[in-house]
Symmetry: C2
Subunit: 337 residues, 2 copies
Amino acid sequence: MNRRPTIMDVAARAGVSKSTVSLVLQGSRQVRDETRAAVEKAMGEIGYIYNRAAANLRSSSVGLVGLVINDLRNPFFTEFATSLQMALAAEGYATVIANSDEDVELQAKLVGSMIEHGVSAMVISPAYGEARDTFDQLARRGLPVMQVLRQGDERTDLFPFSSFDYATGSARATQHLLQKGAQNVAFVGGLPGRAITRERKSGWREVLRKEGLEQVALHGKSSRAFGMEMAETLIAEHPEIDAAVCFNDLVALGLIAGFARAGRPVGTEFRVVGFDDIEEAAQSWPQLSSVSCDIAQFAQDTATRLLAWMVEGKRPEPEMRMPVRLIARTSSTGEAT
Amino acid sequence: MNRRPTIMDVAARAGVSKSTVSLVLQGSRQVRDETRAAVEKAMGEIGYIYNRAAANLRSSSVGLVGLVINDLRNPFFTEFATSLQMALAAEGYATVIANSDEDVELQAKLVGSMIEHGVSAMVISPAYGEARDTFDQLARRGLPVMQVLRQGDERTDLFPFSSFDYATGSARATQHLLQKGAQNVAFVGGLPGRAITRERKSGWREVLRKEGLEQVALHGKSSRAFGMEMAETLIAEHPEIDAAVCFNDLVALGLIAGFARAGRPVGTEFRVVGFDDIEEAAQSWPQLSSVSCDIAQFAQDTATRLLAWMVEGKRPEPEMRMPVRLIARTSSTGEAT
DNA sequence: AATAGCTATTGGATCGTTCCAAATCCAGCC
DNA sequence: GGCTGGATTTGGAACGATCCAATAGCTATT
């Protein structure tokens, strides 16, 4: 016989009952140390492998957390995904990472597949678009589901939402640029009409409004390519603009690349602040000033709150904002660091 | 009663037997259309959700593929992971992505957890370090396992290995730099003693040897930060060097940033070629020349070969090399594109 | 009308765990 | 020696699907 060994085989070998083996597997404290040792020895000898499917079937709790990310190629999200996976792994939970690639259809499939696989909770950074059905399905299953970094469903009582305090961040960035001597600060990037764009823009807008300054905003896909393109636009059509708060670091880096290409240095005659403080920000030149979002800490927090919900039933508050911090570097100060 | 509905409930509602429901679930062609419709209607009405754990228990084949990546933060790997996930999804397989973060212990845990969850195959880009036990475990289970992009175990008959033809790529890059007028070409990045470093270096070495040129290689962690640091080293200690083939694009971008910081433009007096052609290469300034590895195509290929193995039992050849292509851009030609 | 040969449907056994209530063990005490 | 009570151990039922062999329903053929 060459089938995969089961607890029965282990039990036979160790001279105990299958129930005892099961207890050992679950790390129960009520089995005698010698018994446990014997069972573990037997497991090693016959090369036993735990069958989670069977266990799940009976106990219907899987120690599996689903994570659906709208854009795993974005380093910001990658960092979040890996940090969350590690935080959950430390508590004995496995994480299934999936990338919806900003496609609500695919997202629905992924969520469905995860539910079928019996995840016991879910963390989702939703794709843009209508996903009411997907969330309804989640609600029906009664799973703990947290929305992070983006809000895809307004029912935050059902699906608590947590993110960063972007508004304050963009206000700080704008003040910083003005203080450094900038006269006209543009906002670059972010797709119009989206909540996250509104938030990252709102602080900038408030500050400019108070100062009575004109507001120039260039919206578009938040990529490096868009930033590069906008450099040309700014130079050609808005020569008065001498600083920019960017939707994210990718746009900011693209903008800087665009200015470099046009032979215009960034840091003194043109100042830039990005958003997210991705690793690259400190390692490009000029080094990029950025509103830092401590994503590893955020992931850790998310894990903690999710576990409290799963294990103790303590549902997180409907909305949480993590504070952000402005990191001033060469691209806004002109000074080497 | 408020438990999750089962196929029995569906069967009762639809007035058929559980077996019929099971057949519908499996998309069998042998149930009558009206019957299928009735069953599907019933499923919709009572909100039935498929329980994969139960199905797996009986059928022991899960449609789940495990993917373990040594560094998911690296955009090259992220791209591979997402592309593979999509290619497999198209064939009805779900992919579990996990990040070992270059830690063999964690890698062992992840592999173990995936086996427990009953993955039916595995794709792994191994972490550096001794992982014999992990591979042994995989071998015992008899799972189809493919090593990609990195070889962690020498038994390629058991664990077929596929990657890119790096040696040819670095030879081309070096020839290209010499042809553009470079006199002394350094190699920057890559941890010494590793197979992938050897490969990416070998083409460069061969070309320089044939030309009778001196070989300067600066090894280290292949990150942006290292590249930046090496810019200073090159300027201070190797002023004769006027071009570099870099281990990867991150190092190349760091190197360029470092030269920019020192006020030395890259493209004419100093030329750089990277490796991987990540998205950013075309969107930085100067645009980065790079040895392009079509990772999406590679992922697609990997999926195809893996499926042939899983489904038809056709084991892939032990070693496969995908051709690469040199993309010349500003950083090596000095010309804007 | 009986038979054969399909197609469509079905009941029971089964997968490998966990859960539960009951049984067993064992030291301490009267 | 019998009894008590906590610590260990145990057998059988259950989880929810699939698989398999058997059955029922049809049509076409003899």
